[in-house]
């Protein structure tokens, strides 16, 4: 099957190096009976679980809380994504991956970036937090309210994803990607990354 713009839909970030290797994706034909027996919208949400964060390929865009809304009508799907950080380079990759993953559901798929509400680390689902921990990332600490100019003498505490210790220190608020900070665990002496609390 070749899409009308000449692209091979099998070569997508969702199926390629950006995603967890989860085997072959079912084709539209194979999933069609499922779609027919439940609303298109929930089928779209289910499909979005196949699209992963390119920077942490074990977590889906749904569990990361990046998907804001899904709207469906006959022949049309509209999705809004919230960037984790304004300058996040992965959002482009996610947008294209979402477009490609959803192309089987409608001729008209639009994926928009939205700032209508800020993405916050509170949006990560319990499943997302579990997956992060399992992948060696500390999930973000619960949110604390601070004033704009507060100098934050109290730093957030992260739980070591390896040994569960809270005897950890923030080494660097800036890690390998915009959304990650670097910690060190004093008990198991492992450095680890935390998905930043924003």
């Amino acid at each position: 099957m070749v899409a009308s713009d000449g692209r091979n839909p099998a070569v997508t970030p969702g199926a390629g190096r950006f995603a967890r290797s989860s085997g072959r994706r079912p084709t539209a034909k194979e999933t069609a009976p499922t779609i027919a027996t439940r609303p298109l919208e929930s089928a779209v949400w289910a499909a979005l679980h196949d699209v992963h964060d390119p920077e942490i390929p074990t977590i889906s865009v749904v569990d990361l809380g990046v998907v804001r809304t899904v709207e469906t009508e006959e022949g049309r799907v509209r999705v809004q994504l919230l960037p984790t950080f304004v300058g996040c380079p992965a959002i482009e990759v996610m947008r294209v991956a979402v477009e490609d993953r959803l192309s089987e559901f409608a001729d008209n798929v639009s994926v928009e970036i939205s700032f209508a509400e800020p993405w916050t680390s509170e949006r990560i689902t319990p499943e997302g937090r579990r997956v992060l921990r399992e992948s060696g990332f500390a999930p973000p600490a619960p949110q604390r309210r601070t004033s704009v100019l507060s100098v934050l003498p109290v730093l957030p505490v992260a739980e070591c994803p390896y040994c569960g210790s809270r005897n950890t220190t923030l080494e660097n608020a800036f890690g390998p990607t915009l959304c990650r900070a670097i910690y060190h665990c004093a008990d198991c002496r492992q450095p680890f990354e935390q998905f930043k609390e924003v």
């Binding site: 692209r7 304004v86 959002i91 660097n172 800036f174 390998p176």
Partner: protein, 279 residues
């Protein structure tokens, strides 16, 4: 190169990162004033982001190499959304604004005209800018222009980490007598005359305030900032920022500085390799 790699950036150029909005929600006079405000914010973040990136590979600690590269990425990302918003308001192009203007057309604050210099200088400048930017963002947090207000709400959460990091470095440098403290004091003394330039009064400022786009005039924000930074300076036994109001020419680059000309040459070098190239 795979099909996938070849096509991702092309789409990136097609679709702007800023949600589209109806520019007619702003009256033409307010639109000009907002454009002016956004250009100052975009240029501030863009120029500072490139100065930050000058530390990539040569910061005094590996951790700071990572941190300053991340700060640079944040700021250039913020600049991008502001340039894209201007592009929607005026029909201009974000890439043209970023890479195809002459040095004299930039509107960044004079504080950001200084070169990277030494580590203490970069920390002092960043701390002065981050604190000033926070006061400015707070004055936009309730803006009547919704697309602006939404992005400010997001940016503020990121800038909190910049403030936290700079605060820690100010304390670290000031707390070590001898060279670290001496260099910090020298940097603050050299930068103090330009610190208020972030609050240079904007053309059409009263329109912004009347329309509920900005909560207070820049001169008032500069007073607010001086008292905010006064706390830490006093605690660290450092001189307070000088009294006075921002001068009108704090963002005038009709005679660009040598350091900015040099930086401009760096950040436009790729765009100038081949005119009109798309990647």
């Amino acid at each position: 190169m795979t099909t996938e790699e070849a096509r991702l950036p092309t789409r990136q150029l097609i679709q702007p990162d800023v949600p589209t909005f109806d520019r007619r929600t702003l009256k033409p006079e307010a639109r000009d004033a907002v454009t002016g405000l956004l250009l100052t914010m975009a240029d501030d973040e863009f120029v500072l982001g490139f100065w930050d990136s000058e530390w990539t590979g040569i910061a005094p600690l590996l951790e700071e190499d990572v941190a300053f590269s991340s700060l640079a990425q944040d700021e250039i990302g913020h600049a991008r959304v502001w340039y894209e918003m201007i592009a929607q308001l005026t029909g201009d192009g974000a890439d043209r604004l970023a890479f195809h203007r002459e040095p004299k057309e930039f509107r960044h604050a004079r504080l950001l005209d200084h070169p990277r210099t030494d580590w203490a200088f970069s920390i002092a400048r960043r701390w002065l800018y981050d604190t000033a930017d926070s006061v400015r963002l707070a004055a936009l947090a309730a803006s009547s222009f919704e697309p602006l207000r939404q992005i400010v709400g997001k940016v503020v959460r990121e800038e909190r980490y910049h403030l936290m990091h700079m605060d820690a470095w100010m304390r670290r440098l000031a707390g070590h007598d001898g060279e670290p403290r001496q260099r910090l004091e020298a940097a603050l003394a050299a930068l103090a005359p330009d610190a208020l330039s972030v609050f240079t009064p904007l053309p059409g400022e009263e329109r912004l305030i009347d329309a509920g786009l900005l909560s207070a005039p820049m001169a008032e924000l500069s007073d607010r900032w001086r008292s905010e930074v006064g706390g830490l300076l006093k605690e660290l036994g450092l001189p307070a920022m000088p009294d006075g109001r921002p001068s009108a020419d704090g963002r005038d680059h009709s005679n660009p500085s040598d350091s900015f000309r040099w930086l401009w040459g760096e950040f436009t070098s790729v765009a100038r390799l081949e005119e009109g190239v798309q990647w």
